[in-house]
């Protein structure tokens, strides 16, 4: 596994100079140190997909070999590529209003619909410019994490 590489947001990161000692491997607790300082950090995940909490921030890291990376890239090319984009619920809750309809033209950041969860009104915004395709949910629908809300064409 010596050809493993770590990527954050698609960019290769060099872990140079940081030494990792496990405090509790099962719990994902590690002590990270360089020559002058050290800190404790948490890691969760499995396979190629990891999340490291550093200074209170969850940082998603993909760890993969050249072969794994090549295969994954092929998958993405096949399914994405400027095609329709699924907008999904990032947390479970109740859809309280929908600001757009099939055919609406939206720009990145524009409010699409509102989900009530944790006693808060949470607006779901457009991740990119596009035209709203199918709207899968209706006001009053309960949605689960990851559930499809609408498609952007």
């Amino acid at each position: 596994m010596s050809d493993l590489e770590a990527r954050i947001g698609g960019e290769l990161v060099a872990p140079d100079g940081w030494r990792v000692d496990w405090v509790d491997r099962t719990a994902g607790l590690a002590r990270v140190s360089d020559v002058t300082t050290s800190r404790l950090v948490l890691v969760e995940g499995s396979g190629t997909s990891w999340v490291v909490t550093v200074a209170g921030r969850r940082i998603a890291v993909i760890v993969e070999s050249w072969r794994e990376r090549t295969l994954a890239a092929a998958d993405v090319t096949a399914s994405a590529g400027g095609g329709p984009l699924d907008v999904k619920a990032s947390l479970p809750g109740l859809v309280v209003s929908i600001a757009v309809a099939t055919g609406s033209t939206v720009t990145a950041g524009e409010a699409l619909l509102t989900i009530e969860a944790m006693k808060m009104q949470n607006e779901v915004r457009a991740p990119r410019d596009g035209i709203v395709g199918e709207v899968v949910v209706a006001a009053g629908s309960a949605v689960a994490t990851g559930q499809l809300l609408l498609r952007l064409d």
């Binding site: 872990p15 995940g45 550093v54």
Partner: protein, 501 residues
């Protein structure tokens, strides 16, 4: 202990960290504690720590923690002789207080009439205006659906507020007339959800402003004291994230003036128990009454640290008729205390609440550190409730020492499974405006915005640890937690900012 205990058995009509706080007070007073829980909270920490717990309904607050009937029935069946409502939920609901008393059980809080008079923020504005208390300019009647009374007469920007409000729910800033209708609809919906009352009113927006409040404690024998102030100006969505005492903005003269105002406000009703009078300070140093909360505040621990008093124990003892000591007088804070609230939310994504499992929960200890937690490692966060995980409080001799202690404590804090605001809080202690003490309620919007990109050292550490984690992965990955649902990729922000800088 047993001989002098104020009550025999107290029902805690709340959940999370405040339920744990009240259970601990009961244990220290020799009182049996009865928790209540919804179906979503069967394994919650407050249920584990209470002497026993009663299932009162489904996860939805309306079916459980907001159900007066079910909670009163649980108290009666358990043989409780007192009920503590905590904060939020039914804590400022006069009908609940009356129902508890009608069942022959003592309500730990102010008299229902005081809750009623001050709980309606609009009625309170009318009442205190006559007592010589300075008010934020605004309406003293509700906004109709058709906006027949034009709030624009106040001059934009204005702030919409829920009459039954508190905790930032049902509040919306309106910058211009065109935003009013939509903002009013959202504010009403939140107010209805949070308080069961959609009444909304309007005040002039004071900006920049600091949010400073006075802690009151009064017994049933006419003894009332002001226990210093708390500065709660670090807010997002009009909700407090950080509180400190003393306030860097409060001079002895201003403190005395606010103490006087707070007494006048409390004097408009027959009051006992703990309450808080909230003020806004403008840039000129003038103070304006906002509202009086007739309940324990989330941030009461800050006052406990700088006064040495146990406010929850005193609420219970006062409810049992015990007088405050004669030598207890108004207090100036001693030393400096800061509280930060640890929420399951993503400060890099608009402080959006997140759900998930708390897979790891390592909290700091040592000198001058207090932790009031509502969760532990393994707790699953229900989506139905406020995502407060814990309050981390520090106490030190002065403000710079308290900030240094908070930095150290946050560096020791490790929470896994869900994104929290710990990273924002860690940024805050190094922020120049916060360090100087010269900040206002705009701090997050103006200085944090969406948060800085991760620095190169953080990225390198994340990469190093993730590599090590994969290389050293146990043969079975059963022990490794899956990436929690609801984790939002911060990587969008990183892409925007560029990783190479």
């Amino acid at each position: 202990m047993t001989a002098g205990r104020p009550f025999r058995r107290l029902l805690v009509a709340n959940r999370g960290e405040i339920a744990v706080r009240i259970i601990r007070a009961c244990r220290e007073l020799g009182i049996e504690s009865i928790a209540v829980h919804s179906e979503a909270d069967v394994d919650a920490l407050h249920v584990r720590l209470a002497d026993r717990s009663v299932l009162i309904g489904a996860a939805s607050p309306a079916a459980s923690y907001l159900s007066i009937d079910r909670i009163v029935a649980a108290a009666r069946e358990a043989g409780a002789d007192a009920v503590h409502p905590g904060y939020g939920f039914l804590s400022e609901n006069a009908a609940f207080a009356r129902a508890v008393e009608a069942a022959g059980i003592v309500f730990v809080g102010p008299p229902p009439a005081a809750i009623e008079a001050l709980g309606d923020k609009l009625a309170a504005r009318r009442a205190v205006a006559g007592a010589g208390v300075p008010l934020v300019p605004g309406l003293t009647v509700p906004l109709d659906d058709d906006v027949a009374i034009d709030p624009a007469q106040l001059g934009f920007p204005i702030m919409l507020k829920a009459a039954a409000g508190g905790g930032g729910r049902g509040m919306r800033r309106v910058n211009e007339a065109g935003e009013l209708a939509a903002a009013l609809a959202v504010a009403r919906r939140e107010a209805q959800t949070a308080f069961g009352d959609a009444t909304v009113y309007a005040e002039r927006l004071i900006s920049p402003a600091r949010h400073v409040e006075i802690q009151l404690l009064g017994d049933q024998h006419g003894h009332l004291v002001c226990l210093g102030e708390r500065d709660c100006s670090v807010q997002r969505r009009n909700q407090k994230l950080v509180e400190e005492s003393p306030s860097p903005a409060v001079t002895p003269q201003l403190r005395a003036a606010m103490f006087d105002c707070a007494r006048r406000v409390a004097g408009t009703v027959a009051f006992h128990s703990a309450a808080t009078v909230e003020f806004l300070l403008d840039v000129a140093g003038d103070h304006y009454f906002l509202e009086m909360n007739t309940r324990l505040q989330v941030e009461h621990g800050v006052t406990e640290l700088v006064t040495g008093l146990d406010l929850v124990a005193w609420q219970i003892r006062i409810a049992a008729g015990e007088p405050l000591p004669d030598d207890l007088t108004d207090r100036t804070p001693s030393g400096h205390a800061i509280e930060v609230r640890l929420y399951a939310e993503d400060p890099w994504d608009g402080f959006r609440p997140v759900a998930g499992n708390v897979s790891a929960f390592r909290m700091p200890d040592g000198p001058g550190v207090r932790v009031d937690a509502g969760v532990e490692a393994g707790t699953r966060l229900p989506v139905d409730y406020d995502p407060l995980l814990a309050k981390l409080l520090v106490h030190a001799a002065d403000r710079p020492a308290a900030i240094a202690r908070l930095r150290r404590a946050l560096d020791e804090t490790l929470i896994g499974g869900v994104q929290t605001d710990a990273g924002f809080l860690r940024w805050l202690v190094d922020d120049d405006a916060f360090a100087s003490g010269d900040y206002d309620t705009g701090l997050i919007a103006e200085r944090w915005r969406d948060g800085p990109a991760a620095d190169p050292a953080q990225l390198a550490i994340a990469g190093a640890v993730a590599l090590a984690a994969r290389i050293d992965a146990p043969a079975s990955v059963a022990g490794a937690a899956p990436i929690a649902a609801g984790v939002r990729p911060w990587t969008d922000a990183a892409r925007r900012e560029g990783l190479s800088r």
